[in-house]
Symmetry: D2
């Protein structure tokens, strides 16, 4: 159940058709879910269980290498990895799909994207020489046999090929398969916002890979749901059920927009999106790599050397983009939380889905369900 279905409305801006990053025209998302092996059986490295996967986000599918999109980066907490960060900051653009996976699989994903692009279009070898793909990660080793390296090149290719516009699957899917969130099961979430026509009518879409947070900090639309759940729940006697969380983890935020923004502006957008993480309860913990990237599908950085003329959104017109990025990020995290399902994993561990009925009850007690809240 998505946050909206539960009756939650974050902020005042309307959402796009699918309330997903794919509401930004051209953006395509694909998942490969790698989920196999019995949790109880997974006692030695390399034999599983696999609770991991790959998610790809294409800014557009029309020769991305030769037609980069402007982009900006921000690290709320840098204890994680997003490759190509230096190039994003220097050139203000990205020219590959963005691939999300687990920490130990960044290498295979990087390798696979390079091979994929150059196999599909061998002329790149002479025209571009090389690419530096954008690959970002969270650590799913609590549930996943991460040291077994179960993500393969083929999984990455599959996620790249599977990318489509249209609805985006959420929860325990793709790179989100084995992730946790505020001591519950987490994964992939997405959301979007449409600006009013008099603010340009731009679309802002967000996709998050969530793997962060202590339970006591979880805030759902302003309600301290984590603390309230903790105070009432009976702790499971089974120590294999994850509890409080421990500030380890990470989160990746991908912001897309069709507003014509350049790299510098997009770095500012990425920074503001971090406030959306903060509103859900993130503290940018020491061990949590919370990395954010924003791109624009319409401000095309010139590849050719020379002077070009292009439209750009300037001045305070960026403010509603900031607001949209914050709100869509907050909602995307909630979607990841509510769409995830209880998952067992390595060493018989279990990450439970958040108890939605309890959440709904708490929200109602705190006057936070809009009338549209499904029950």
């Amino acid at each position: 159940m998505r946050a909206r279905e539960l009756g939650i409305t974050i902020g005042e801006l309307p959402v796009g058709t699918r309330n997903a990053i794919s509401d930004v025209a051209g953006v395509a998302v694909g998942h490969t879910t790698v989920h196999w092996g019995d949790a109880q059986a997974g006692l030695s490295v390399g034999q599983g269980p696999a609770r991991t996967g790959v998610t790809s986000i294409w800014p557009h599918r029309d020769d991305i290498v030769r037609k980069p999109v402007s982009a900006g980066f921000f690290a709320l907490s840098g204890t994680g990895e997003m490759t190509a960060r230096s190039e994003i900051e220097e050139l203000g653009r990205i020219n590959t799909p963005i691939v999300l996976t687990n920490t130990m699989s960044v290498g295979v994903a990087y390798d696979a994207v390079c091979r994929y692009l150059f196999t599909r279009d061998p002329s790149l070898s002479d025209d571009e020489g090389v690419v530096i793909p954008v690959v970002a990660e969270c650590d799913d080793s609590y549930l996943n046999d991460s040291a077994g390296f179960h993500v393969t090149r083929e999984h990455v290719v599959q996620a790249l090929d599977a990318a489509a516009d249209g609805p985006v699957e959420e929860g325990c899917v793709g790179a989100g398969t084995g992730m946790h969130l505020f001591g519950f099961k987490g994964g992939i979430g997405t959301s979007s916002r449409v600006l009013p026509a008099n603010a340009g009518g731009w679309m802002v879409g967000v996709l998050v890979l969530t793997n962060f947070g202590r339970r006591s900090r979880l805030t759902v639309d302003g309600v301290p749901v984590g603390r309230l759940l903790e105070s009432t729940e009976t702790r499971a006697p089974d120590s294999t059920v994850a509890g409080e969380g421990d500030d380890e983890g990470s989160g990746i935020v991908v912001v897309a927009t069709d507003a014509p923004l350049d790299g510098r502006q997009l770095a500012r957008v990425a920074k503001r999106a971090a406030l959306g993480l903060g509103r859900t309860g993130s503290t940018g913990a020491n061990g949590s790599g919370e990395l954010l990237v924003a791109f624009s599908t319409t401000y095309a950085p010139g590849q050719a050397a020379g002077v070009t003329s292009k439209p750009i959104l300037e001045g305070s017109a960026i403010d509603p983009i900031f607001t949209a990025a914050i709100d869509a990020t907050e909602e995307a995290v909630l979607n990841a939380l509510f769409m995830a399902t209880t998952t067992d994993g390595r060493l018989g561990r279990v990450e439970r889905a958040i108890p939605i009925d309890r959440v709904r009850e708490l929200l109602r007690q705190h006057g936070r369900l809009s009338s549209g809240g499904a029950e």
Copy 2:
């Protein structure tokens, strides 16, 4: 009325004795309030009304120039000024008091601090040569005759001399005299947190100068108070009463701690404190300079060249400091909001105090007042 008196509790950590930045031993705060001139009369630049002032924060009062404290900086939104930022980032320390004032008075404050320090201790001239003081600002020109330059060197000296430990005055005082906040009157706020003994027992104190935010974003302990107030209030027909706000403004956050953290770590603390601004509704707007500085009173950067041995807090032990900085920042902003009083100013304009009774009612309706809430 402070947020706690209203019954609000932000986060789970306990507050210090005064719930103020001065709970960090040695930290002293002083205000000079510059409030004169009739609002209606203020029709020409230079004749007032003055609605401005100066606030000083001393990390300690024992020869700060020769005994610097470690410090770190973060810009949530850089459209503002904090002098000495480059030196903070390069050397990881500050060696002057921190002075807050209005934007156009940064120069006079910088000048006054230099003169003050070198007059008080002429031997600095040979020993140190020069200093680069930390002066930060928000723009109070909505109410204040800012272009009249009504802050003088003497006002700055007075604020420096007035600095004391003990309780910290909040609201429309010192640099906060003419500031706004989410479309209401704002100003100075402060708060603190004490870490549990098993987390080191460190103190974290925050002082904010608030001047930011659109009303519709105002979030009080998770409740969208701004939006709710807007939906029910009758807009004043008098256009001189400030309304929604327009994303202009700024905010300065000063975080102090007695935990032994170095400059790099304090820059991380400053970055997390920005999440506290976000939780109150800040979007880091385009025209809003939201600048944060954090310092430690106990990690003394060596002045002498050479190897010294010193204690430092490492690893994930910084996590509760992050949490404390976020929560104390959020609460300090609320204190600034609730302690401010309706103020008139330039061109007969009025910034109204937030209607506390309405806020209390809204919080109660949303199940957010702890039993201790005074009524």
Copy 3:
């Protein structure tokens, strides 16, 4: 004698008409030199001698507040001050003149610029509210009675009013009056480069305020002149003559161009200009604030909110701009060195001009004088 007159040619690009920052159309420079008081007499703070001043650089003189220019910042070493840095980084632009002065006079200069702009155009008070001027400094307290605060508002106004296009005075003038450079007398220097027509024909101009460097590192067009001078000179028995230098000091670099570059690109240009400092022998020393700002006179950031279309120079077309900024910075430092004259100051100290004849001889011995070298 300028470096070119000595026969030195830095790099391969041709220089502009004046070999000065004012070769960039519209850029105007003004100096106020504050030089009074007998060196021997200057024994108590406040009584001089004054060996200081103010230099102003206007990106253009047509309502700079309302017509900002794009700009970027870089700190090679941050132990110094350039106000408005945060705003430059956030908004990618500056909207005031740039003022250089001594460290302790940053405040009075900031104050004076605010007053100047708002006095000259009172309508700014309603239209813009406030400004954050760009004021940068080096520390001249070795020669100057810096703690005497001898720069006044009037001096700043005078430098702002004196700004003119045309030739730029160099050496011990304006803010450069009391500065040192590699253990010799330094001050103001400038240089420019013109790109070939097939690279756009853009102009790049640099102005430096130099106050850095140990003598042994001084490199003149690749020749280790500092080391060679040291090995042959008879050290003055008079300890009041400055010798080796001690890594204290600072340097400010202002790069101007008419190439249409945005703020992100100009920050890249500023970073490359630092390599020009390095080529003269700077090590970005711990106590040396070496701060660089670059602006473009032709990429006008929109003040109005909304989408505008504008030309921008993209891709590797920026490479000759990088080269020009590096070379012009190197040459501007040399001009500051060769144009400075022996100056006495506080406590009877003396900073000697570099012995040009010895330099010429060393350059000739090292095969570095082009045939045009005057002798």
Copy 4:
């Protein structure tokens, strides 16, 4: 022939025993050179020729994952990749070996390091969960069949295992096999500096992977050798011989020291090392990723949470470290240049070694050969 053998002395500080990064106690370097396939035959992707390799640098070989070293990062030009950059900046440390390879092989190297560490020590899986290895690259696709992905996991393992203290091989070896430098053949270079005893006696070592620069900018110990060579050489009629270079490329600089510096200080050291690149002629070109990392073998960041006491080098005592890093970087680049040998590659292309005899002659003409210069 190394620069010193040619008679070149960069700066005034003495070099370590081997004049190599391995002069810093504990630092080990290993190479795998991947050089196969006939240049003429290499006409289709995947069939070679391979002109590439892998270089590993271990800060120490004693359980690096659990015993991190402090580290700092700087991008002179970000158009390249160094993984783990975000973690270096956040935590101020690295906890894996540093691996250098070609751009398209970053993924396989990242993957290989993860596997290597977790295979060698399976207990990491429970203790640490995951690692983020430091992998950096330059683009050798001019000579190397880069799109053929000829670096394998085994090559990486071999370079990791081969790491040894002692002499470091330079030139066309390891990751340097296929690289160019100022239009000549480049590769791996190294150098070191020892501080005087009264400056702490610290060792600073540098290793560079060089792949940057236009020939006309090449500066050898201050002499514009590139320009002078161009003016006299007969251009090869064979267009397959690389000429001027085109600002594409990259460079990686690894600085090691045994001085106890923390992450913030090491980022400053990395920034200064960039000046060494500039002194050889780098312009930090648009297409050139010039990334620098510095680490200290003696400031061990605590892994455990809590307060620890540790020695740290403070204040201006860092200045000779800056100087050493600059000089050793400059000399390491020259060593890469002079130790490289003419190499043919893809499409029959040839990168020629710089003509050492001509360089020696030019240096002598410019008075730059110390008496020790071998002839």
